[in-house]
């Protein structure tokens, strides 16, 4: 049992409140991603779990045991850092071995001469070398072991950092943006490798990232954080399709979800820009609503006449990505541009400057109230 339980954790740096009563339960062997923009407190939360920062209040338990009074090394968690934090003066092998050396040997067994002279120290060193070799083989970095970090590429350093975390079989892996220093191509490959590593090890992973693609592709659950709070914690598909909060909907997905202001009509129907959507909500008439829909949940047609449930505007920009066509429309009355994804085959239909009608798929439209809370259609 090595789930991680975070209870009402608060943290402030000076006057800045970085975490506001964060509560989160991460199951045993779950892959949990903390997703949010920079400055949302996700890295601080990870450091509090590791014991590198002390929370102002609240508590952390690992495997059911409170760890608040324990030092980082006593918590039995391993961490992979964004900068990898490899010791620059040690070889890859020494880097990987260090956590084992520190755990298994006594101070005198690490002293310069005794380290080689004492039979016990030599036995420990031999055992450790064996384990380092096994982990290195598992990550395909056996041939790099004698190199110093400065002689390794970014991807190789990242693997050495992973190996250093794996070697002591911790109860939980904490990863702080471990892929953000890799180039785009390597990042996709490493994403798959980490997900596979998680399946193989069956250990709890807490993974911090600002990259939604990483969060969506690797996680069992994603906790979306903003301004020191967890807005929603759910499986990736739920986060995307069924966001609990407008800020979650806006943060997840690319291009950004389209949002237009609407209002509740006299019979509870949703009205936008003078048209009515085939949706009703249980809210008082004239309540303001944010009506949101994703780029792929709408259709665009050249505008000939006023149509029911449609938004009218002018095409300002097109992006043909080969597989898809993105169309950016400036609605009337003017507000933020709306993005719609179409099949690339429709390139010839939709041109810049054309007047078009956008028709959101009413079944996929998301409604939010003024505070950003979700409003469900009746």
């Amino acid at each position: 049992m090595s789930g991680v339980s975070i209870r009402s954790v608060n943290k402030a740096f000076g006057a800045t409140r970085v975490l506001r009563g964060v509560t989160l339960d991460i199951g045993d062997s779950e892959f949990m991603t903390l997703l949010g923009p920079s400055g949302c407190g996700k890295s601080t939360l990870l450091r509090i779990v590791a014991g590198l920062e002390a929370q102002d209040s609240g508590s952390i338990a690992i495997g059911g045991r409170p760890v608040d009074a324990l030092r980082p090394r006593e918590r039995d968690v391993a961490m992979v850092f964004q900068s990898y934090a490899l010791y620059p003066h040690m070889t890859a092998a020494e880097n990987i071995a260090l956590p084992l050396v520190m755990r298994r040997s006594r101070v005198w067994q690490r002293l310069p001469v005794l380290r080689r002279a004492l039979p016990s120290a030599r036995r420990i060193r031999r055992d450790i070398a064996g384990e380092v070799g096994r982990v290195a083989a598992a990550l395909d970095i056996g041939y790099l072991l004698e190199r110093k970090p400065s002689q390794l590429s970014g991807g190789q350093r990242q693997r050495v950092a992973l190996a250093r975390a794996m070697v002591r079989q911790p109860r939980a892996f904490l990863m702080d943006e471990p892929l953000s220093n890799l180039d785009a191509k390597l990042r996709v490959q490493a994403r798959a490798e980490i997900a596979e590593l998680h399946r193989r090890l069956g250990t709890t992973f807490i993974y911090v990232t600002h990259d939604q693609a990483e969060a969506m592709t690797m996680s069992d659950r994603v906790a979306v954080m903003l301004d020191g709070e967890v807005l929603q914690c759910a499986p990736p598909a739920t986060i995307y399709d069924d966001p609990a909060d407008l800020r979650v909907a806006e943060f997840v997905g690319s291009p950004k979800i389209n949002v237009i202001t609407g209002a509740v009509g006299s019979t509870g129907q949703v009205e936008i820009a003078g048209t009515t959507l085939p949706l009703t909500v249980r809210r008082a008439p004239a309540t303001a609503l944010a009506v949101a829909f994703r780029a792929e949940h709408a259709d665009v047609t050249p505008c000939t006449a006023e149509q029911q449930g449609a938004l009218v505007g002018t095409v300002r920009h097109r992006e043909n990505l080969g597989s898809d066509l993105f169309v950016y429309v400036e609605p009337q009355p003017a507000s933020a541009r709306l993005a719609v994804r179409l099949a690339a085959s429709r390139t010839d239909d939709i041109r810049v400057g054309m007047r078009v009608a956008i028709r959101p798929d009413a079944a996929r439209v998301l409604l939010f109230d003024r505070d950003g809370g979700r409003v469900r259609a009746a």
Partner: protein, 278 residues
């Protein structure tokens, strides 16, 4: 500077720099030259670089006979090495605490360090002398080392370096099971190697060449540091036999000059730090 300039400028540049270089190097060349010459060739008005009759063996052996030059070199090595080791031993943990740890007195302590940077080493000399004299320690290695056991500049400089070490490296070490003490010696010490080399050059060059403090506390001929030893050698020479004196100065200056020529870049980097030290 971009515009290519013609041959006349290149010649002018070498002429000007060459004249200057002659002036800068003349004492060294002259010192070497005199250390090879017999007395009668030194006391002559014709300029010659190389002696007509080589007298190097006599000059150098005479220098060692007059004063214990080897002792001065040994004293220099022992004292500068001890001073540097103690300075690192004291400064490294403090610099780490000041750069990376949170504690209530961090700011006042750093303010004291900055204040200490303002004080030239000559200022506390009289109280130091009184302290050592009342402890009966004058004329000993302890007296030579004592005022320099702590280098405020060392603390400041290593702290500035540690500020540039990413926190993640220390976090990783804590998770890997290192105590704060182990972090200082196993992680920060090797990481600080370049900064320590620069600081070591400053420290060793300064104390090898220091004259003021040894002059105050050393009384017996055997305890002199290299600079003071040169003066002892000079004082044995009441007359005009400059050959052995120059041989002695060659011996005293050689270690640092050779070290400089071997590791020019590091020396220049290191010595520019004295700009901060003042």
């Amino acid at each position: 500077m971009t515009a290519p300039r013609g041959l006349p400028f290149a010649i002018l540049r070498h002429v000007l720099l060459g004249i200057g270089a002659v002036f800068m190097l003349a004492p060294f060349v002259w010192m070497l030259s005199l250390s090879l010459k017999p007395a009668d060739e030194i006391f002559t008005t014709d300029l010659r670089l190389l002696p007509q009759r080589w007298d190097a063996v006599r000059n150098y052996s005479e220098a060692f006979r007059k004063v214990p030059l080897h002792r001065y070199l040994l004293n220099g090595a022992i004292v500068t090495a001890t001073i540097f080791s103690l300075q690192v031993l004291v400064a490294l943990p403090a610099a780490y605490a000041l750069a990376k740890l949170r504690f209530g007195l961090a700011k006042p302590l750093f303010a004291l360090v900055l204040f200490g940077l303002l004080i030239p080493g000559h200022v506390p000399a009289i109280p130091h002398y009184i302290m050592l004299s009342s402890a009966g320690l004058l004329d000993s290695y302890a007296a030579l080392v004592f005022p320099s056991m702590i280098s405020v500049f060392g603390i400041f400089w290593i702290r500035q370096f540690f500020k540039t070490v990413p926190d993640d490296l220390i976090h990783a070490a804590r998770l890997d099971g290192l105590s704060e003490f182990a972090i200082v010696w196993r992680i920060m010490l090797p990481t600080a190697a370049p900064a320590l080399v620069a600081f070591g050059i400053v420290s060793v060059v300064f104390h090898w060449n220091d004259y003021f403090w040894p002059l105050l506390v050393v009384t017996s001929p055997d305890m002199a540091m290299p600079a003071l030893g040169t003066v002892y050698l000079r004082n044995t020479e009441a007359g005009t036999d400059y050959g052995p004196l120059m041989a002695g100065t060659v011996i005293i200056t050689a270690p640092l000059v050779i070290a400089f020529l071997v590791a020019q870049r590091r020396f220049i980097e290191g010595m520019t730090l004295t700009g901060i030290k003042g």
